[in-house]
Symmetry: C2
Subunit: 189 residues, 2 copies
Amino acid sequence: MQALKERILKDGKYLGNGILKVDGFINHQVDPVLMDACGQELARRFANVGAQRILTAEISGIAPAIMTAKYLNLPVVYARKTKPVTMADTVYLTLAQSHTKGKMVELIVSPEYLPRGERILIIDDFLASGHTIQGLVRLVDAAGATLVGIGTLIEKSFEGGRDALAHLNIPVESLAPITRMEEGIIEFA
Amino acid sequence: MQALKERILKDGKYLGNGILKVDGFINHQVDPVLMDACGQELARRFANVGAQRILTAEISGIAPAIMTAKYLNLPVVYARKTKPVTMADTVYLTLAQSHTKGKMVELIVSPEYLPRGERILIIDDFLASGHTIQGLVRLVDAAGATLVGIGTLIEKSFEGGRDALAHLNIPVESLAPITRMEEGIIEFA
């Protein structure tokens, strides 16, 4: 998606070590107009998969997921990383390696919002190594729901995340697939 | 706002101990259409305060803030509770008591997204005791920015949050002010 790619080239910063800083419009500050356009485009790409609910992970997945959900008119559930007091006692919980946090994080979903047999679309900000998204896939499995697609804003194609999801045989879409990233260089597919 | 009040009466659950569970449409699962309508209404109420940026707190503030920001065409910054590797080394950080987590949490904003002299609108999901929002107010102060308004989805009017903010002399708006909450009873102002 051209608008997102241009914004990454303009405001994204490669920090080294495979880390792309997009704090100015996705991860700390959010540009709601760009995010709305991204949601609209993701909704277009997944218009025909028959999704009944969108699953994402807090924190950075919430903005793209909610904008996509708005266009598909679906509820969006975000896997929580800590269990709040309002959550049911029995939950689905899995562990995932966080690249930016440098540690394992919990992903927790309440069964009441991930019903057995439903068709689930996963939306997140990044597809990189794919650890977080694989965690979300395990939650969908645990719930006995059916995964129908995975969509992200940015993909770091050189980190193997897409390959690790290939066995799922579902559409995987990213709006800005980055094929090469070095000091001063960001290239898209 | 009628649609939000009706949804609270339909799907909100009083858990005792002052805690209202709205996990089905705000805090774990989000209804994007309702949230969009809430954002539109908050944007309407703050249309004339001259805000240049919206500040919220992760996690539950993100959805209402981004929808409000979309209608006001403003960037939204969310105070983070842990410092990611992409964040600047020097930050604004304050501590706030979390009611639902039962502990102190950090609220962290990078100075690059909270510039001195800017007019800031705070948006969050709940105004209850007001601890989180007072934390956000301290961040605005620390940045040398100007607070121009505070808007929330739900207010628990009996927990004193609004009184604690009165000295700021700025508009404080909530879309669903709850005046009384007991087993089976939720009353609005």
